[in-house]
Homo-oligomer: 237 residues x 2
Amino acid sequence: MNDHALYLIPVLLGETTVSKVIPPYNIGVVSRLRYFIVEDVRSARRFLKKCNPQIDIDALTFFELNKHTDKKEIASYLTPMKKGESIGVISEAGCPAIADPGADVVAIAQQKGYKVVPLVGPSSLLMAIMASGFNGQSFAFHGYLPINAGERAIKLKQYENRAYSEDQTQLFIETPYRNQKLAEDILQHCKPQTQLCIAINISCDDEYIVTRNIRTWKGKLPDMHKKPTVFLIYKGY
Amino acid sequence: MNDHALYLIPVLLGETTVSKVIPPYNIGVVSRLRYFIVEDVRSARRFLKKCNPQIDIDALTFFELNKHTDKKEIASYLTPMKKGESIGVISEAGCPAIADPGADVVAIAQQKGYKVVPLVGPSSLLMAIMASGFNGQSFAFHGYLPINAGERAIKLKQYENRAYSEDQTQLFIETPYRNQKLAEDILQHCKPQTQLCIAINISCDDEYIVTRNIRTWKGKLPDMHKKPTVFLIYKGY
């Protein structure tokens, strides 16, 4: 590494091997870093060991960044960069700063004028769009839907409308133990001809990515309880 | 490969090495495939040779899928799958079925009930979101903006409004030789406090991903002429 930078380091999505989803270049980068900002220290250590069993984990410094972290504290995590050190950012699953709190520290790094370098790795959102067959020239990710039944129904209809009026693929996710409920809500509130792609355990051995219309899904939903799942809806015909 | 499937195979984004952005697993997959649906035959052959110089390119069958391809012809490209053969999909740059015509053949494969398997690789859109510091819990990609000046101004303001009203990161791209013009249009039409991330040549040696507000960018735009660039806007403060 010639320049010091904030490296955004994707990790595995569930139980799979490093060589399946991580480019060799990333192993070199993580092996040279001494500072990490991580969503969960335990899982970050496990990932680093998988990348390179030679890494001396105890010599590394970890700063924890998750929803419990005080926003004021985050800027201090970047102090090593002032001294010319690089830092890695690692989230719980997939790509940091996508659907996790990592974007806060990236925003501060950009404000301070530090170099930010995203590395390649698995993104369940992007891979779900690719495999859905839906529009990849226009798409929107909305994170989590509201839990309240009334608000959720309104949001679902609003996103469905956008799929038709803007020809835009709509993506959202749910806490894994509530996936089955969300799938049923989608079947209840969306039009029979609307297309729904259910993408479960992406990049893992039991990966399941299937697109059907709402009418066809009824009574035939797969088991997605506690499994990481991406939901995509798109206009039908 | 136990199952036959439609494999979605990402390629390099410009001049970089395979090991920097492609997981080792992908090399095994492309080395075993005999059929490919590609956006451009020449660049697909070059990529396959880079992945594995041992591949006998002349023994492979290529079907070309780009904006000139007759939609009716696309379904016939999947004929080898009926006989239990797997097929790879390769676009000009980055991830197939994202911002390219590949989604059409994926949609047909899903309709026919074929297994679709997305592989990991570089996505300029996703990597730009990661490194922008903008909201990664809500984002929308809009493809190309209209060329007509009036329509373009309307769209830019509409997307900027959504960045504020929905707290949503807005992404778009342009034909590389018109990048400079688009950047100037953004500076002209967006609010001074709105944030703009310009992400040029992602994953290449001269990668440049910088976030500033519109006010700060004025008079200081980088050279992006003919360089693949992603533009992202987000609410300022």
